[in-house]
Symmetry: C2
Subunit: 400 residues, 2 copies
Amino acid sequence: MADSQIYLASTTAPVNIAVIKYWGKRDPKFNLPTNSSLSVTLAQSDLRTHTTASCSASYKTSDSLLLNGQDQDVSGARTQACFRELRSLRQKLEDSDSSVPKISTLPLKIVSENNFPTAAGLASSAAGFAALVRAIANLYELKEDPTDLSRIARQGSGSACRSLFGGYVGWQKGEQQDGSDSFAYQVAPASHWPQMRALILVVSAAKKGVSSTTGMQTTVATSSLFPSRANETVPRRMKEMEKAVQEKDFETFGKVTMMDSNSFHATCLDTYPPIFYLNDVSRAAIKVVESINAAAGKIIAAYTFDAGPNAVIYYLEENEKEVAGLFKAAIGEKDGWGVERGQKLDANSAAYESVAKEAQVAVDLLKEGVSRVILTGVGEGPIKTEEHLIDAKGEPVKKA
Amino acid sequence: MADSQIYLASTTAPVNIAVIKYWGKRDPKFNLPTNSSLSVTLAQSDLRTHTTASCSASYKTSDSLLLNGQDQDVSGARTQACFRELRSLRQKLEDSDSSVPKISTLPLKIVSENNFPTAAGLASSAAGFAALVRAIANLYELKEDPTDLSRIARQGSGSACRSLFGGYVGWQKGEQQDGSDSFAYQVAPASHWPQMRALILVVSAAKKGVSSTTGMQTTVATSSLFPSRANETVPRRMKEMEKAVQEKDFETFGKVTMMDSNSFHATCLDTYPPIFYLNDVSRAAIKVVESINAAAGKIIAAYTFDAGPNAVIYYLEENEKEVAGLFKAAIGEKDGWGVERGQKLDANSAAYESVAKEAQVAVDLLKEGVSRVILTGVGEGPIKTEEHLIDAKGEPVKKA
């Protein structure tokens, strides 16, 4: 019976960490940013959202979303915008070809799982909305390319648009009021510069900071320094960063990454009331990166911080010993060093000793304040999978 | 014998804490700033430098300066500039009137003492150079007014120019290359708004940060946000602040004070490499001030931070209980509560209890990180004194 058929499609989608930060909306409704941004997509073996989208006339309930076993509210404007836009594209397909099954109006049932602890405070909404949009697009067999889909994912969560691509990804702010030219594009695939690695230091925050949506709106409204960042600094840095990626120029990549992270947090501090995402542990990570670069005589490590105290440290594979190895020696046993790549990584005690002299206070703060590490690198965009989180009866698959 | 006569003059000079910050030099040689600034002069009973200037043909040594019992190097360009300019003014007096003793070329012997611990990390160079210039001007019986002298003190230490006046003091950046129009002026005397109080929380820093001279030059050279602060934000805030002082409008005074401190520290963070003066204890002080203002339903307390982690909290006398009293209850026994005014101040445990609920982490950080407090308020400019630190034989007076 066609009515009870369960339509299913699944994908995984990656996390991305910006090196030119998105902060500030010129239009909250369409999630249109005040400036362009650029990110590195991280490997899904370490960080990903796995999502199955399904629809069926047999589903008794309206649209639903289960994330890590928890029912989520899908009535919010952002999720609704994604559903509406994807259904509208499916509707067009159905209208243009009568042989296409009419499924655009059926209830959607979506099941999602992250392979990383939610408590880590890693921005999961980018991977989440990218997976949601990609999974439904697969379900609906849409022909739209990732750039088209990025316009939709952007309405779910701004930075989600960048997670529809692998490698090095830009998000152009666009000029149109309807957001039609505000989409993501691939600057270079992961294969262009596959040596890029990222060490994430998960810092236990005393309490959750200001949410990024609230924070960025307050920054736009109150920071007197913000306009010069959005209008002058970022446009210049976007060009510098795209060139650095094209030329695989880590020194420029690293310097601009650090400067842009600092610029973003500076506008947070210039917000009224001020927003602080960096704490003394974050500052300690900065200090150690500075010591590593000083010892190397050039930039081989670059820190960046999103809207929280976690440090993400980019470096090239050839410097793994000098960067990740030193951090392993410095901060000692932590969850995360134990997994695959981490086990193979030797603690670089010799390099650590030389840095420790001038950064002992920082090292002590890191030892105490870092709760876990994630050792990862540049990776691919969303990957279609036949491993579904919903079974043939339309029920969420029970975990073993 | 005239040759052995000891000429002596003494003064005290105050510390000032800016509410519109000086950060950035447009000319390092003349100490010319990139933006105007405005400060409150603090009471000398709590914080002052006491300086005696003397000269005599009998002095065997060249110019010398003894500060808190330690010989200081006077060969630096800044001290030399002050000596040179003051001698030149004295020379003019001598040239114009032959009855004036010819002392401009005699060796100078200067003895200075601060009434506050150097270890407190309070910017003492402002009071120090103001006292040095004022004492020598007294010694030379110069007719120049404080504005004229502020041009000289500025060359010793930028913010010293503001310590030549009491009350509320502006320093106009000026436009001339020679610095002739870069001087301090009184916005209003202390008597205009004598209710202004200041609570200083001295925070023990793990180590000394970047010096302000080095720091501000790096900011000017590398911060992309700095020009908009210097060219747009500060000129607007100078007008707002002068008006707030004239109208005794604490809410505007407080809001602009906090925003300008944040703006200054934002440009430090936007410097490459970034400069951090605020630490987690500083942030905790900000949090408690925000809680106090939230409880009051208006701005009754305003934080500001110079190039270090110490918090200065301005408030009006009428709110001493709600502000200083709350801090006394929150951070407990510390050096500084014991002196005169501090003893009279009751710990406001009731107000503290209500704030503690939402700011317990901040309060714990303050308890641990504040090493001493100074309870003071707006005060007078330099005061001439007959209490000399050099005796009739030209020797430093031994302390009892």
